[in-house]
């Protein structure tokens, strides 16, 4: 429908008369006179019953438009001169082309989705890509944009507008909360710096663009792939980055597959192994004996590279209070965080614990 409206909007800039399109029941879909849109033209019935392609009244000329074998639309224009018939003929061809293009776009979108989801045979991808005029030889990068379900439609509209008319990007809706952006990354094929700049520029633009319209979004950035046919790998990586980011980097809106750190390792571990590790480091659920103040203290102590003076200054607590809290951690868990080895063990165990918690609650996740 949008493509028909677009044709009529463009026709308005060329033709002096009012023109419009109605469906076979006479309901006007699009018209240069916007007030007519949504109203019904009673002449439609007579036009449909006529055997002629063109019909006319004293004020208007009508033309039936077939898509495939079936009459789908009736065009109308003010006036009943021969030139008005010519205008309608041209407009009809214009609309048919637009509808055909739209069909091709939808097929292209479906094809890209199938490639992302590995529903296409690898060997056939370049052949089909050529049919859709997709440059198969350019490097690609996939970004997954996740929003709350109720904001998904708006986010998609924003992204489609942001990348509209862009040959270098393709925006697809995967589900009501997830949009995919497949970027042509040929310009970032060179150095590491170029790739980083490309990711930084695109991901932060998407995020700011959505935030600007009051939409909260999380972005997973996949890996660069050299050819279009490998975008499924980049998509998988982006999804993984989003999941791992959600677990270990909760205060981060952009998660990159190439910057997952320890989270990448822990995410691959089987749950039973993780549980065994936790039972070993925190026997008898020792971690649960630590109160919120102590946990905040530990995080700050780690963030300050185990520096007690900096930590107490940052937390506005006396150094003795910090020592007391660290002693309490040692008493409850057996780990002295002032020792590097114990600190590393604690840090890893708390990340593993976070991962196990995620596994338990993942079914309830509505966002990301």
């Amino acid at each position: 429908m949008e493509e028909i409206k677009k044709c009529i909007r463009q026709a308005k800039t060329i033709l002096k008369q009012d023109v419009g399109v109605m469906d076979t029941s006479g309901q006007i879909i699009a018209a240069t006179n916007a007030e007519l849109e949504g109203t019904t033209d009673s002449t439609a019935r007579a036009v449909m019953m006529s055997d002629d392609l063109f019909s006319g009244t004293a004020e208007k000329t009508y033309m039936k438009v077939a898509v495939g074998e079936q009459i789908r639309y009736i065009l109308f224009i003010e006036g009943d001169e021969p030139q008005e018939r010519a205008y309608l003929g041209l407009l009809a061809e214009w609309i048919k082309t637009a509808i055909k293009d739209r069909g091709t776009d939808a097929e292209k979108e479906l094809f890209t989705k199938n490639v992302l989801l590995e529903n296409e045979l690898q060997g056939e991808i370049p052949i089909k890509a050529r049919e859709f005029k997709i440059n198969c030889n350019a490097a690609r990068l996939v970004m997954v944009v996740r929003t709350a379900r109720e904001e998904g439609a708006e986010a998609l509209e924003i992204l489609l507008n942001f990348y509209a008319d862009s040959e270098a990007a393709c925006v697809l809706a995967m589900d009501e909360a997830t949009a995919i952006v497949v970027l042509d990354a040929e310009e970032a094929k060179g150095s590491e710096e170029e790739r980083n700049a490309f990711i930084e520029q695109n991901s932060s633009s998407i995020l700011d663009c959505l935030n600007n319209e009051a939409v909260t979004a999380y972005i997973g950035v996949g890996s660069f792939v050299p050819l279009f046919q490998y975008i499924s790998k980049s998509y998988r990586d982006a999804m993984l980055a989003l999941r791992v980011g959600k677990i270990f980097e909760k205060n981060c809106y952009i998660s990159r597959y190439d910057k997952l750190g320890l989270g990448r390792l822990i995410y691959q571990l089987p749950a039973t192994l993780c549980q065994m590790f936790i039972d070993e480091v925190f026997p008898n659920e020792a971690y649960k004996t630590l109160d919120e103040d102590t946990i905040v203290t530990i995080e700050s102590f780690f963030a300050n590279n185990l520096n007690g003076s900096e930590t107490s200054r940052e937390l506005y607590v006396h150094r003795n209070t910090l020592v007391y809290r660290l002693d309490k951690v040692k008493k409850n868990t057996g780990l002295d965080l002032r020792s590097f080895d114990d600190a590393v063990l604690f840090k890893m165990a708390s990340m593993v614990r976070t991962y196990l918690e995620y596994l338990e609650t993942s079914k309830d996740n509505m966002i990301r």
Binding site: I158, F162, D208, N211, E213, K250, S350
Partner: protein
């Protein structure tokens, strides 16, 4: 137009990371408040909580008298401007500015009216039919501001909006945004890590570090009376000189001693908070402009004078920076008057401190000893 109230606001993430702690702030209607601090201090998180892009872990935020903790971002009546202009590349300036309103199904006439009004305010009427790629950085930034203005929000939120501009354009846009605030008469909350932006634009500045508010004050108060060494060092360029010194009390006179230099403090320092620290170490803070090489001042103030080796002289036109070393080990920065300064590199120069503009901080807590 709206007042804002942050009441004991926290942002905590699972696992103990606290991004914002006990944030309390009252913002009056039409105020221009700047949140400033180093990277990771929680300023953007605070702004995002206000915008609704980040959940509030604890506490309450009010816009006027309306509690907005659970209000959807788009219903908060705010508009944001980010570092990235995030303009739609294929749309004209006019369409870019109208886009948010179209999304909200606003009538066309109203959209046109608002776009024209915003374009007039920003003086970009002649750019309305251009596309973003045909605009300069400054013009793009204006369009981004225009997109915010057309929403007619109660509060404008800006997150480092000038970071993408070059230094010259940044100065220009700083003035533009300040003018815009006067013209729109709306509440502005502005986040930056740049203390110059903070000092030049805000009616009040909130200095943050590690998620905590350090000090909330007017630019002048922050500069003249910093509450601790962090604020003292963060505000002002070049930064304040911090000197490890010892307090010495002799009768009713108070002195600070560092590197064999003894400086007599003015009478206002002869108070209990200072006198009781006789023999104790403190941090002596001196702004660069409080150290001078002006001959008359040095002669008239022998009680604060000392000699130093000049390492570097930076001529900036309206002012000159001297980088000197006292006693071969204590580096200091001085801002001197180029019309009177005769100092040159390699020279031993006589300097004196204007003790009316000094600061003394506790060595352990780093808090100012007298306010």
């Amino acid at each position: 137009m709206a007042s804002l109230s942050f009441q004991h606001v926290y942002k905590k993430y699972d696992g103990g990371v606290v991004a914002v702690s006990d944030f309390n702030l009252e913002v009056a209607d039409k105020e221009f408040v700047i949140l400033v601090g180093p990277s990771g201090c929680g300023k953007s998180t605070t702004l995002r909580m206000l915008a609704g892009l980040e959940d509030i872990s604890e506490g309450e935020i009010y816009i006027e008298d309306r509690l907005i903790n659970d209000v959807l971002p788009k219903d908060r009546d705010i508009a944001m401007v980010f570092q990235n202009y995030a303009l739609y590349p294929h749309m004209t300036v006019r369409d870019n500015m109208a886009f948010a309103l179209k999304l909200r199904k606003m009538p066309k006439d109203e959209i046109n009216r608002r776009v024209m009004e915003a374009a007039k305010i920003l003086e970009i009427e002649h750019l309305l039919e251009r596309k973003p790629k045909a605009l300069s950085g400054g013009q793009r930034q204006r369009v981004a501001l225009g997109r915010a203005i057309v929403r007619d929000p109660k509060v404008f939120l800006m997150d480092e909006p000038l970071s993408n501009l070059d230094a010259k354009l940044r100065v220009q846009m700083r003035v533009e945004i300040t003018k815009l605030h006067h013209r729109l008469k709306t509440t502005f909350i502005y986040v930056t890590h740049d203390q110059t932006e903070a000092m030049t634009m805000g009616t009040r500045i909130v200095v943050m570090k590690d998620g905590f508010i350090q000090q909330v004050d007017s630019p002048t108060e922050l500069y003249d009376n910093p509450i601790n060494t962090f604020v003292a060092g963060f505000i002002g360029m070049p930064p304040m000189n911090f000197i490890n010194a010892t307090i010495n009390v002799d009768g009713s006179d108070v002195y600070v001693t560092f590197e064999n230099v003894t400086v007599k403090l003015p009478e206002r320092y002869a108070v209990e908070e200072v006198m009781e620290r006789d023999g104790q170490e403190v941090i002596f803070g001196v702004r660069p402009e409080a150290i001078t090489d002006e001959a008359t001042f040095v002669t008239d103030h022998p009680e604060t004078a000392f000699a130093a080796d000049v390492d570097v002289v930076e001529m900036l036109g309206a002012e000159t920076y001297l980088y000197v070393t006292v006693n071969g080990s204590l580096p200091l920065t001085c801002r001197v008057d180029p019309t009177t300064s005769q100092s040159s590199v390699g020279q031993v120069v006589d300097l004196a401190i204007d003790t009316n503009r000094i600061h003394i901080f506790d060595k352990d807590t780093e808090q100012s000893i007298i306010s």
